[in-house]
């Protein structure tokens, strides 16, 4: 959470784009613990998690100009990079191909900035409440996919349910989390 006197994430990222090392350090201080926690949860090893986080912040340093506000908050962008890199490592371990990003080279879509505000304002209690309110099977499906890097088919096999059920659970679970953010943005 930022105060009025602190620069916003976007201001810091713009400063990183101007090669200001202090801004990179400030972004690191703000988000590396979150990114490290995510990578550690996904990979299960400290060295790999640290490598992912280092890759992410060096990518921020080198590619700050590639950030598009329309694609979501800086926090989402950073965590998405950490997530993608950890997924890549999980897939390398399993000898699976990397899936392409559908938004990789598309520039003309828009997301209202209120999503950024919602992600910035959401409290730990609200997150815990939202995750706790998910039906166990939906939460497990989301966690196997997001943290475990499992494909929908693998999850169907693990849970012993049809593929369509997994797809439905994924979508319903995300809809509920989206509803949480929509509620926060008011």
């Amino acid at each position: 959470v930022t105060t009025a006197s602190e620069p916003t994430d976007e201001q810091l990222l713009a400063a990183v784009g101007r090669r200001e090392l202090g801004a990179l350090e400030a972004l690191y201080d703000r988000y590396h613990r979150l990114a490290l926690g995510l990578a550690r949860r996904m990979l299960g090893d400290e060295q790999g998690a640290e490598d992912v986080v280092q890759d992410v912040f060096l990518a921020v340093w080198r590619q700050a100009h590639l950030y598009r506000r329309e694609r979501g908050a800086v926090k989402t962008w950073l965590l998405a990079m950490a997530h993608h890199r950890a997924i890549d490592r999980l897939r390398q371990r399993a000898n699976l191909d990397r899936a392409p990003d559908p938004l990789e080279d598309i520039e003309d879509h828009t997301v209202a900035p209120v999503w950024e505000q919602a992600l910035a304002q959401i409290t730990v209690e609200e997150v815990a409440g939202a995750l706790g309110s998910l039906p166990p099977e939906q939460r497990e499906t989301l966690e196997l996919a997001y943290f475990g890097g499992r494909s929908q088919s693998q999850i169907a096999e693990l849970q012993g349910v049809p593929l369509g059920t997994v797809k439905g659970r994924t979508r319903l679970g995300l809809e509920k989390l989206r509803g949480l953010l929509a509620g926060v943005r008011g």
């Binding site: 090669r19 090392l21 613990r33 997530h83 990003d101 938004l103 997001y146 995300l174 989206r178």
Partner: protein, 272 residues
Amino acid sequence: MSNRPDHVNQATDHDETFEELVAAQAVGSLGSDDANRLKDHVRQCARCRQLLAEYRSAATVLALGLEQSPPNVGLKENVLAVASREMGAPQSLPPAPNVVVLARQEEARPGFFGRLRLAYALPLAVLFVLCLGLAWWNLALQEQLSAQQTQLERQNRFIAAVAEGGQRVPLVGTDRAPDASGEVVQPVSGGPPLLVVRGLPQLSQDQVYEVWVIAGGQPTSAGLLQPSDEQSTMVRLRHEITGADMVALTAEPAGGSPGPGPTGPIYAAGRV
């Protein structure tokens, strides 16, 4: 996925099946085939583009529910060292758009008060630029102070580790760095080892030193190192040396070795 409904192949027509693919993509569980198909569809479907961005934000909530890791200062030092190395010449101060706007406003207001304000515009602009310069100078001083505090903190940790009788590994420069020497100390009280090294030659812009801890013939990267202009450089390693056979420094591409082991020549090494 082989058991995908046939109508998913129609990339342009929106239906709920695509929304399921969007959800799967947002959590990273879509296979390459479906992801390619979704990409074709998303190009033409504004609704799915919007939904994908929103689902990604929603998926971020899963990460926000995790316990945050404790701060990792050693990793930050590595990141900043590489970034600093890659940084080019210092950037000039950005233009001050407010000054330009102020001047334009005054030009649009003729008359006595307008001329009076115009007379003040130049000194105000100079004052503004001066303030901007002072703010920049203050920031630079703060960064310098912060860097010195970090270095002092590392030196104190190193001295404390030596004083408590931690395991010490002397490093000797190879033919490529005959003036290099250093030492690694593994604190008895636990935590990451500390490395101090001096006399390493400066590498090219696209290279960095990488520290390796070698055990049973298997090298493990323990961090990146960017020698400063000062006499010695001190970093915290990411891998303990307890049980290892050797510590070595090699020159690697910026960002570190592309493989699991070293790819460049050894500049300094020491037996544990």
